[in-house]
Amino acid sequence: LSLPDFKLLRPRSIDEAVRYLAEHAGNLRVLAGGTDLIPSMRQKLFEPQYVLDLRAVAGMRGINPQPNGVVEIGASTTLRTIERSAFLREHFPVLTEAAATVASPVLRNMGTIGGNICLDTRCLWYNQSLTWRKGCGFCIKKDGDLCHVAPGGTKCWAVFSGDTPPALLCLNAEIEIASSAGTRRVPLHDFYSGLGDNYRKLQPNELVTRVFLPASAADYRGVYRKLRVRGSIDYPLAGVAVVMKRSNGHVADARIAITAVNPAPLLVKNATELLTGKLMEEALAEAAGDLAAKTAKPLTTSALTPEYRREMIRVLTKRAVLAAAAN
């Protein structure tokens, strides 16, 4: 599997980067760590004329707490940096825990938080070589027009497989998107479309530059639980992030988000209402698990059977809620 030919662009600043984006929009892929893009390019999922390498761009790395309590994280900050940040571990433990489960240490050294947010959706019928995909007649997401996962349907169900976005959703994170027209800030839950093929609301000339964690999300207890076959390397087959604040032994506030079972990472609706004000006990955690399992729509996009992955969302949510209440 060889890389297709492309021209490498290495901008030094965000301005220069968005200028390239505007110039070559639609014919360009952005490379931050390359851990997702390069294997996909080898499989000829992307054959762009230009690759925009962000690694030389100044001011896109680092974790900067601001005076008003908001924490700003550059999109090119590596997952390793986030995993090892003592500041984040103290105030936003769910994020460091989620970052620490991504792939393997080698990949975390390269992979970035921005890349993890923009991670392409995955499917066993999609993340394959060109020859393989030709053999199966292609699919909606790339080159074809039918879905093998939901035969007869016209919607793509490729599954979002990032680990950090559910943690960021729990923290009510926002992201900054830059283009030649200026910058805009969107809440992360508005960034994902819920479709498998066009999975994020990002124009071809736009670039994710920063992540903001609001001050109100600081100091929540946080837990991330991930289902995978191996203890390393694997993408999540189901993932649950939970944040919780307690007072007097009762739940004061809580949020649950799930990943790897839908085309987008999702906050579990009504989880806050279910948990707030209650005393944590097994039955309550099980109710939260049932709620999360209802939100999950796993299909045959990944290894392990869909029913099993839904069941694991239930079990992992229950465990994560209990762990968040206990620690």
Binding site: D143, D145, L146, H148, R230, A303, L304, T305, E307
Partner: protein, 403 residues
């Protein structure tokens, strides 16, 4: 196996045996060095280059040490006979009175006669210790390696009861010409696979035995199996190289654990759904259990120095050991490997009469009646969107015809 020895005492072994990381080159060098009584650094192995080396059918069937090892043993013995004949003339004795060890040739009852415990003692794993204890080579030739002066010196010295390996080799080359030996090995007729279709090709005639104990824990809610420790005992005949044997046993346990828990080729309508190592999951270092080794030695009458094999024997024991450990832990007996979490959980739920969930695509892992296929559909025949021109269901010619 061909062996060639040069005037400088360098031994070159040409073998077809493929080194795939299991240590066959080391084994070949050790056997040649052991037979010739020379130090290990003298031996150079040229392996699996079909331009240069004789045929070997491959690294499989637990046969390399047994067969290529025996062939090396025979080739080395043939060369040794040539050297012994020449050395015996120089030392005024019969060839079978000579002992080849510690980088030299000694007359029995000569000045090294006290150590007459046969040339096949186990020096193979100790490497070049012989060089330090034997009289140094340069002492004999005084820094000169010219043939004429060596011969002159030997004439002056007359018969003696020890020659260095170089001296013996030079004597043999003077006496016979080029010094080469050839050895080959085929298993006894009754151990071969027969001529029918599907018969074993090159099965090893020796059988190793192994026993393993696995300690596992099973998560009853998720069905995940964790292997904590494996005790592995393996009877590999004579141990030619203890470090290699240990590595092979640990590797076998690890490979067996992958087969038992995670590695599976998943198919759908003839398409392999996990053709890459990302989706075909071999265990990573995180899952690797502690392995406690017990090497059981025995002497096989047919094997080289009594060795049998150390590869597939240990592998075979890991899977049933883990299956039995799962049964011991949670009382479910799976008959479909690998024991992936959904299969374990499906069996556990069935045992507990929990609400039925279709965790395994309708196949009971405790008594599977067909292979599980991946879900979804390769070719959707019903009403649907227009198909891509390259879609296999749109093809007119028979599959593969156009390729």
């Amino acid at each position: 196996v061909n062996i060639k020895i040069d005037r400088d005492g360098g031994v070159v072994v040409y073998t077809g045996a493929s080194e795939i990381g299991q240590g066959s080159d080391t084994m070949t060098a050790q056997i040649a060095a052991e037979v010739l009584g020379c130090s290990l650094p003298r031996v150079r192995v040229i392996a699996a280059d079909t331009d240069l080396t004789p045929i070997d059918i491959g690294s499989y069937s637990s046969r390399v040490t047994f067969m290529a090892g025996n062939a090396t043993l025979r080739a080395a013995t043939e060369v040794k006979k040539l050297i012994a004949a020449a050395a015996a003339k120089k030392m005024n004795c019969a060839p079978d009175e000579l002992i080849f060890r510690e980088d030299g040739v000694t007359k029995r009852n000569g000045h090294m006669g006290a150590a007459t415990r046969g040339s096949l003692s186990r020096t193979e794993s100790r490497g070049p210790v012989g060089q330090s204890s034997a009289p140094s080579v340069s002492g004999h030739v005084e820094g000169q390696i010219l043939r004429g002066s060596l011969q002159q010196k030997r004439k002056e010295e007359g018969p003696k009861d020890r020659m260095t390996f170089e001296e013996a080799v030079v004597a043999a080359i003077d006496f016979h010409g080029a010094l080469t030996g050839t050895g080959s090995y085929a298993p006894p007729q009754e151990a071969r696979g027969g001529k029918h279709k599907g018969a074993g090709v090159g099965p090893s005639p020796a059988y190793s035995y192994s026993a393993q104990v696995a300690e596992v824990s099973v998560d009853e809610e998720t069905g995940e199996v964790t292997v904590h420790k494996v005790w592995a005992a393996h009877d590999c005949g004579r141990v030619l190289n203890p470090v290699s044997v240990e590595g092979q046993i640990i590797g076998s346990v690890w490979m067996g654990m992958g087969q038992a828990l995670t590695e599976e080729m998943v198919w759908k309508d003839g398409m392999l759904m996990n053709p890459g190592l990302l989706e075909y999951r071999s265990p990573s270092s995180v899952e690797s259990p502690e392995v406690e080794l017990i090497i059981v030695e025995s002497i096989d009458p047919e094997g080289p120095f009594g060795a049998k094999e150390c590869s597939e024997g240990s592998l075979a024991a890991t899977i049933p050991a883990i299956a039995n450990a799962i049964y011991d832990a949670v009382g479910v007996r799976l008959h479909e490997s690998p024991f992936t979490p959904e299969r374990v959980l499906a069996a556990l739920r069935a045992k507990k009469n929990a609400k039925a969930l279709n965790l395994t695509e309708g196949i009971d892992p405790t008594s599977p009646t067909r292979f599980r296929e991946h879900g979804g559909a390769l070719c959707f025949q019903g009403k649907g969107p227009e198909r891509h021109a390259l879609d296999s269901s749109q093809r007119q010619e028979p599959a593969g015809g156009a390729d």
